[in-house]
Subunit: 136 residues, 2 copies
DNA sequence: TTCGATGCAAATAGTTTGCATTCTA
DNA sequence: TAGAATGCAAACTATTTGCATCGAA
């Protein structure tokens, strides 16, 4: 938490209640939160942080490498601390999210690198499919 | 093309100029077209097919299994005939799209099935990363 | 006191929906 | 001519931006 604030400051940024609150939510550990979710959590204590401010805070934190977002199929982007990533499986039928260890796609990544010079970022998107329950 | 129209008819649907036009575009072979793209192509001949009609045509064709769409990172969904799929690599930096054979992720799919009962649909989303050019 | 951050409203992109109208079968 | 499909406008979701104002350093 202190590190995050220090990074913001080091970048010439300022520590505002909104930024502190966004950082706290993320450090709090709840995963897969959308910007809207985060705004909702914050608005208990700070009733008029706007969603756009949350987006701007997240953008600032992402630029510093503190935060990352994941695309889960259709819905909004989900944000989390950069050091808490993993690979996601998302069921298209029921929306269930399965987490895999971050190195789950390392083999694939190496193959794509060797064959196409492509640096896979396997934690930046979910793998879509159908979960065991929904497969009938 | 005739097969597609027959399927629509068999489903109790009707063959309209708009549907015929959407099907023709897709059969035409151009890949990675968004709904907006398709509407644009059609509007040459049929000036007032609305984008919503295109979405509804695509929805109908998708329900029949004729069409599929792919999520390419941020942008709009891209539509193509269901039998023309492949795996996509998308460069987050320059947007370049690399196509892999449809079975490129079969190994991964089998592993996820065995380990989690998860049926991967590896052609329904792009794998994000950075292409050889953009890696500096 | 300065310039970065915020709030709010409005713009944007992509997609969906309501409803009266049109046209296929 | 019944009901499926369309056109248009409006609603919606996710996100971004403009601009005047506020406040951290």
């Amino acid at each position: 938490m202190d590190e995050i604030l220090a990074l913001l400051r080091a970048d010439g940024g300022r520590i505002t209640p909104a930024r502190r609150a966004v950082a706290e939510i993320l450090v709090g550990g709840e995963e897969h939160l959308s910007a809207e979710d985060i705004a909702g959590r914050i608005q208990g204590a700070l009733p008029d942080v706007s969603v756009s401010t949350v987006y701007r805070c997240l953008e600032a934190l992402e630029k510093l490498g503190v935060v990352e977002h994941v695309h889960l199929g259709h819905g909004p982007s989900r944000y989390h601390l950069a050091d808490r990533h993993h690979v996601h499986l998302l069921c298209r039928a029921c929306g269930q999210l399965i987490e895999l260890p971050p190195d789950a796609l390392d083999g694939l990544g190496e193959r794509l690198d060797a064959d196409h010079g492509f640096a896979l970022e396997p934690r930046h998107f979910a793998l879509l499919g159908t979960c065991a329950n929904c497969r009938g």
